[in-house]
Amino acid sequence: MDMLIAPERLELAEAVRDYLAGTHGPEVLRRLDAGPNRDPAIWQGLVDMGLPGLLVPETHGGLGMGLLDAALIARECGRVCLAEPLVESAFVATPWLIAQGQTANLAAVVAGEYRPVAAHAINGWVADGEGESVASIDPLRRLAAPVEAQSDDPLLLDLGALMSAAQLVGLAEAMLDQAVEYAKIRTQFGQPVGAFQAIKHKLADVSVALEFARPVLWRAAQALDDGAESAALHVSHAKLVATDAAYLSAESAIQVHGAMGYTYEVDLHFWMKRAWALGGAWGSRAFHLARIDAAVIGAAHPIGPENTFA
């Protein structure tokens, strides 16, 4: 029993963080919004880091890593509000195809030339897939009404929900960071607004929500990776607390920014819109709560202190 995330796993996620911080700042979001939404050069950078093949077995030329590694990196993608479809393709569709034994195109996946897409019935659309375009509030989401048959495989749903939760945590962390930085420099009544206790406590509440969302997320990722019987429950738990943390962080951050936060000029809106999108994607709050309800109140899952890791 060890809840410590191994340092080498954190190092990989940190390398991705550093890379994205240097290449995918808010000015990139602005440029992509004004133009074609996607940038082959950015994608190529991700390919060069081996990320499309992160979950592809080494025997197929991938890195052969696990869902916890992918969740750590999905969080980084949320943190920079990544436009490229890395998460949905490499961390959702790819492991699902592998789980189904569809390994024919994995070399192209690793090379970044084939980006698999998976449509699930719980969503009304598919991200970065073929089909009639559907407009999202998030200007960098490319949604399409799915033309192919949609799957109802629970594993696909859990992969999608888990990776959405990971991105939501990263989005919430980034919005908190933006609010903190703004609160340090914006002055009102002769002092930085971050010196007011009301602002401090509002942002402290976001910190609390995040501090207790992260371990739920890591636990869910490991459980799904382990193929644990209760993995779906833990994924739902993660999706729910990540969604709530992201909404809280967004509402707190815009409040701290005041009218500035209501402008296109300030970066915050990109993150808020992604949070609203992912909060409803891959199972709504109600859907995931119902799974928890069935397990906990419905007695399908053992609860209590002796069952922390049941």
Binding site: I122, N123, G124, W125, V134, A135, S136, I137, D138, R141, L143, T187, Q188, F189, A195, F196, Q197, A198, I199, K200, Y247, E251, I254, Q255, G258, A259, G261, Y262, T263, Y264, E265, L268, H269, M272, K273, W276, A277, G279, G280, A281, W282, G283, S284, R285, A286, F287, L289, A290, D293
Partner: protein, 387 residues
């Protein structure tokens, strides 16, 4: 306390309802934050005025109907119940209008109120400056006297409607070297005066919902000042009282949203979270409570009373109610929450409304400021304080 309408009030309600049924546009107008939508809404204001519905509480001489606040509330209930458009001139009719009624000269009333009620002149507010948001007393823009004119220099921001409107109003520093609340005057200005530059600010949803205003030696006649020179702060506080208090957000708007939320819940009941069910019932409760409170405030004013610091309670309540209702709707929509258009092709009004609701706790004095006012002026807690 008497909870029934008089026959006269009932007849008035019927008259309003009939007019609205015949006149409210069948399809929603475009958002008033974009140029085309703005002009659609101005057209609607003029249509309202053609029926003498511009501002029913104003004297007939200014284009009103001389009705009382209860009749105004009845009008508002029917207005929002009928799904009529937002009032593009709300800065004028709900904020500046009552202020002019209280502080204006007879000439100013004649000059400004009549075209306001007629929808001929649309008003922008110009309260904030880059360094003066919640801290409105930090205003720096100057309006120094030069004969029978003020010459304005400086910058305003977050000026709602200013991208397209005709006139603006705001506070300006008329006394050189004055500090904080002192030396400010309340001045009205034509937005097309030479030296005024408007820079629309793009909002998060993409529309230019507010603008920056730059003033470069803008000459405004002295008769455009409301109340005395240097008395601007008190006038502005009265306006802010209208904004936070009775007028700006009439209960009908929230009652209509609560009803739509109930309908949305019925559609999604099979897949709703338990807390959403309670949140929906609570939305009705809170919108009703807000309506009762408004009726009570109206009765108090009609009996000769005034709105004081309790306007801050009002501002906190409606703005957080609005945000909560729309957040609940977003959760009920699930995967569809992010879509700009719903399956039937209609605009996702809940998403638009949620974004708009996020501004409620910020504008008209942030809710942090309102809670300070509540604690200090209503509860008497000490003003000094450290973090």
């Amino acid at each position: 306390m008497h909870l029934a309408y008089t026959p006269q009030q009932q007849a008035f309600r019927a008259e309003v309802r009939a007019w609205l049924a015949a006149n409210v546009p069948p399809a929603p107008l475009l958002t008033l934050e974009c140029e085309e939508g703005y002009h659609q809404h101005v057209g609607w204001e003029r249509q309202l005025a053609s029926g003498n519905w511009g501002m029913v509480t104003w004297p007939e001489a200014y284009g009103g109907r001389g009705l009382d606040l209860i009749e105004w509330l009845i009008f508002e209930e029917e207005y929002w119940g009928a799904g009529a458009p937002l009032r593009v001139n709300q800065n004028g009719i709900f904020l500046l209008g009552p202020t002019i009624m209280e502080y204006g000269t007879p000439e100013q009333k004649e000059r400004f109120l009549t075209p306001m009620a007629a929808g001929e002149k649309i008003w922008a507010q110009a309260w904030s400056e880059p360094g003066a948001g919640s801290d409105m007393a930090a205003i720096k823009t100057t309006a120094f006297r030069d004969g029978d004119h003020y010459v304005i220099n400086g910058q305003k921001t977050w000026s709602s409607r200013a991208s397209f409107a005709d006139w603006g109003f705001g506070l300006f520093r008329t006394e050189e070297g004055s500090q904080r609340h002192k030396g400010l005057s309340f001045i009205l200005f034509d937005l097309d005066t030479p030296g005024v530059t408007r820079r629309p600010i793009r909002q998060l949803h993409g529309h230019p919902g507010f603008a920056e205003l730059f003033f470069d030696d803008v000459r405004v006649p002295v008769e455009n000042r409301l109340a005395g020179e240097g008395e601007g702060w008190n006038v502005a506080m009265a306006t802010a009282g209208f904004e936070r208090g009775l007028m700006l957000r009439s209960p009908g708007r929230f009652q209509a949203a609560a009803r739509r939320l109930v309908e949305l819940f019925r559609q999604h009941e099979h897949a709703a979270a338990p807390s959403a069910r309670e949140a929906v019932a609570r939305a009705w409760m809170d919108a009703q409570a807000y309506a009762y409170n408004t009726y009570a405030v109206a009765a108090k004013i009609m009996a000769g009373g005034k709105i004081g610091a309790e306007a801050s309670l009002n501002k906190i309540f409606w703005s957080e109610l609005d945000r909560t209702m729309h957040r609940t709707a977003m959760q009920l929509l699930g995967a569809a929450a992010e879509l700009r258009h719903l399956a039937d092709g209609s605009i996702n009004e809940w998403l638009e409304g949620y974004m708009f609701s996020l501004s409620g706790p910020i504008y008209a004095g942030s809710n942090e400021i309102q809670r300070n006012i509540t604690a200090e002026r209503l509860l008497g807690l000490p003003r000094v304080g450290a973090g």
